[in-house]
Amino acid sequence: MAESTAAVNSGMLSRLGNWLQARWQSIITAIPLFWLLLFFLAPFFIVLKISVAESLIASPPFSSLFEWGEGLLPSVSVTAENYSYLWEDDLYVRTYLSSLKIASISTLLCLLVGYPIAYAISRADGAMRYILLFLVILPFWTSFLLRVYAWMGLLADQGTFNNLLMWLGVIEKPIRLLYTQFAVYVGIVYSYLPFMILPLYANMEKLDNSMQEAAADLGARPAAGFFTVTLPLTAPGILAGCLLVFIPATGEFVIPDLLGGGNVLMIGRVLYGEFNSNHDWPVASAVAIALLIVLVLPMMLYHRVQARNAEQNT
Amino acid sequence: MTQDSPYPWREEGATPFIKIEGLSKRFGSFTAVDDVSLDIFKGELFGLLGGSGCGKTTLLRMLAGFETPTSGSIFIDGADMTHVPPYERPVNMMFQSYALFPHMSVEKNIAYGLKRDGVNRSEISDRVAEMLKMVELSEFGRRKPSQLSGGQRQRVALARALVKRPKVLLLDEPLAALDKRLREQTQFELMNIQDQLGVTFVVVTHDQEEAMTLSTRIAVMDAGRFIQIGEPAEIYENPASSFIANFIGSANLLPAKILERHGGVAVLEHSGSKRQFKVATDSTQVGDTPTLAIRPEKILIDKAPLNQCDNQLQGTVREVAYLGKISTYRVETDIGEIIEVTAPNQVRPTGVGHKIDWDDSVHLGWNADSAVLLAE
């Protein structure tokens, strides 16, 4: 009897094993999918929900969206007040516009600085190419916060730049560099430059040198060859790099906070402040949702670019 | 005992070892394999021949179990294999890339399949040693695949697939990655091993010469279907269509019309020039408009008239390609068609005079049974 039970058990086990083996694809997909649904997608719906809740002085400082009423159906209290508050308060609109402007100009600057560097690296030969690439990637591995801090040291009133300029006699007394828009631009370009160079390099590396030679052979001068052959062929890299800089830069918090001080309006900083100092969570949520709406188009575009690149690799 | 016959497919009612029935595979709207049926017999070395995208690899992958058929069924040794996963099939495959596991030694690669079957350790090492000996790699067991040459890797892949004593061995372009000389040598090794072990081989190849040399029978595939199945000589000498005539070797194709027929010989008329030729046939009827196919090596070429031949043409040599043991001539003939002829270079073409050259006037000739008629 015991033996037959054991046989039945092992039979069931091996059948369970086979059942699992046959479903290996579902199993390895389900685990990360479940994690992302719970910790990535669900939070957005909660933010959305709270953005239409009423602000309360309590902990947590927002009204519960679903109140179990007397009937079976929960009564829902929804308000668009937080959004209309954003729209009516001039400060928020100006902040969004200012964020977009700063992110756009920084992206353009990053491209202007990054493009020739990426190009030079992609045309360097052998070991030199890897060394240069390594030098570009290295700062990306070191602390973001500390790299921003390094610029505080350069730009401060008694910082290295002012000291240098006074020593050279260019200026009499320190000029204000830190806590200005200029500092924010420098900070963003500095911090995000690797994100511009790497996709550009990945794109240019695949570029066949003979293309330019063919263009030259067919009579294109260097400038014409660049604008008619190289630039169009590197467009996917330009797009990917610009999006990788523009999207996170729009919501940037650390750089405007440390280098811009109170003088530069950026939405990431306002959101953080709304949340941390004012404890107005519904308004912070509405700010976040509005930022997401602004960024959803570039994010979808980035997703498309990524998907196309992945396709080309296979 | 049908298995005892060296040509079981020639016998009525012989039991097939692999039975493919109405097998189709569609990827979205693309049909890779289109309703094919095929019997393969025990001990055969069966060739699947076709150009890229003809469906031969998909068919092989369905035999291995990597693709699930859209419809139809596969039986191996009487058992339905259609929905059996690859790891439970009595079938092994030698991959075109060899797919040797780079992080395992040669021995470990070969032992891998036996370990999965739970074979005990001493038997594994015996059988691995036996296989290594068979492929003449006994000294290389501890090396990694990266430390072997292309030919050695190919033999490891073969040993790995054979060590499990599969009922069927599938080979995907087994020789494609080797250079020409090694390929010829390996062809014969493969045939020897197959002969020794008696395992049924199914070989996919795009190389018609390889298929001809290796196979007991060949199935020629195009657009997901079989267009002819037969022994190599049968396919070469009696191609079913002009596509096959050109795919297997090359052929001069002349449009024609049958004028009369006496027993096994018909007289036909070339559609363009109205010139008449004799051809051996047993199936055409007067009034049919078949294509006359003549292989280049079956046509004689000479500066003197070839009166001994049933059919003769005259023409001018327009191109000569000297290939060493043979030469190929393209001759513009008096029937207005360019005819390709190959002839062995039995004499060293050093002396001026008997050598056939550009712009020479030549006679061409062939016998009635050297040409075939193709319905399409």
Partner: protein, 272 residues
């Protein structure tokens, strides 16, 4: 590269490298400044290093950050490898579009949004099921895993995209069941990618300020949070010292990892 164009590229390259490295190097130099005012040179000294090593706050924050980074990297590699496998090897499954979207989004999502949304999730979960009871090391780790796994998935996917499925099919053909194939064949092939993913996740976690600030609770201060709270008010020489140590450690780590990977790549190249 010849002539004017070459000279222009070379200039840009030098300018770019100077731009990237001068601020860091200056920051490191001033860590040896005796003066309490960072930009005013007061002679060579290592007093700020001594101050740093004596600070219990710094030690506590460092150990918390390292703990989170190690846990994050380990879990992110596990989840990210599965996700990368799903993306590269399984071409049709329900929710694939959503899945690929959720994998690529964290790479560009502004940190303030990720941080805020995760915090609100943790609060909601706490109200609903009582977990997480308090915020701190666990919630920070979960938040870090969520964005780190996306980076790992991309690395794994791109490694797999370049290789065919022959090896896996060969193993299946030889009688290995799917999970056996995963263990015997796929994972060993992915090992270098997993190492790279682990290192990247580790670094991303050590680097994160914004998300951690949102989802942390009382008492849990990570190293970036500590640094931020000090530099908000201006330059601090002890932070220069801390920065110097961190940058040196990271550089050595990256050099080592790069060297190992280069060696592996060379071995791989020899094989083919």
């Amino acid at each position: 590269m010849t002539g004017k164009r070459s000279r222009f590229l070379l200039t840009m390259l030098c300018f770019g490298m100077a731009f990237l490295y001068i601020p860091i190097i200056l920051m490191m130099i001033y860590s040896f400044n005796y003066s309490k005012l960072v930009p005013v040179w007061g002679g060579f000294s290592t007093r700020w290093y001594t101050t740093l090593f004596q600070s219990e706050e710094v030690w506590a924050a460092t150990s918390l950050s390292l703990k989170i980074a190690v846990m994050n990297a380990t879990f992110a590699v596990m989840l990210g490898t599965l996700a990368g496998l799903a993306l590269a090897r399984i071409h049709r499954f329900r929710g694939r579009t959503l899945f690929t979207g959720m994998i690529s989004a964290p790479l560009v999502m502004p940190e303030v949004i990720t941080g805020l949304s995760l915090l609100l999730l943790f609060i909601t979960l706490n109200q609903m099921i009582g977990w997480p009871a308090s915020r701190g090391i666990t919630t920070i780790t979960i938040a870090h895993i969520t964005f780190s796994m996306a980076y790992v998935a991309i690395i794994i996917q791109s490694r797999l995209a370049g290789t065919g499925q022959d090896l896996e099919e060969a193993a299946l053909d030889l009688g290995a069941k799917p999970f056996r194939v995963l263990w015997d064949i796929t994972l060993p092939q992915l090992a270098p990618g997993m190492v790279a993913g682990w290192l990247l996740s580790f670094t991303l976690s050590l680097d994160d300020l914004v998300i951690a600030s949102f989802v942390t609770g009382p008492g849990a201060t990570t190293l970036p949070m500590l640094i931020y709270s000090r530099i908000r008010l201006g330059l601090r020489p002890d932070i220069n010292a801390l920065a110097t140590i961190i940058i040196l450690v990271v550089t050595i780590g990256v050099l080592l990892a790069g060297w190992i990977m280069l060696r592996q790549q060379k071995q791989l190249a020899n094989r083919q």
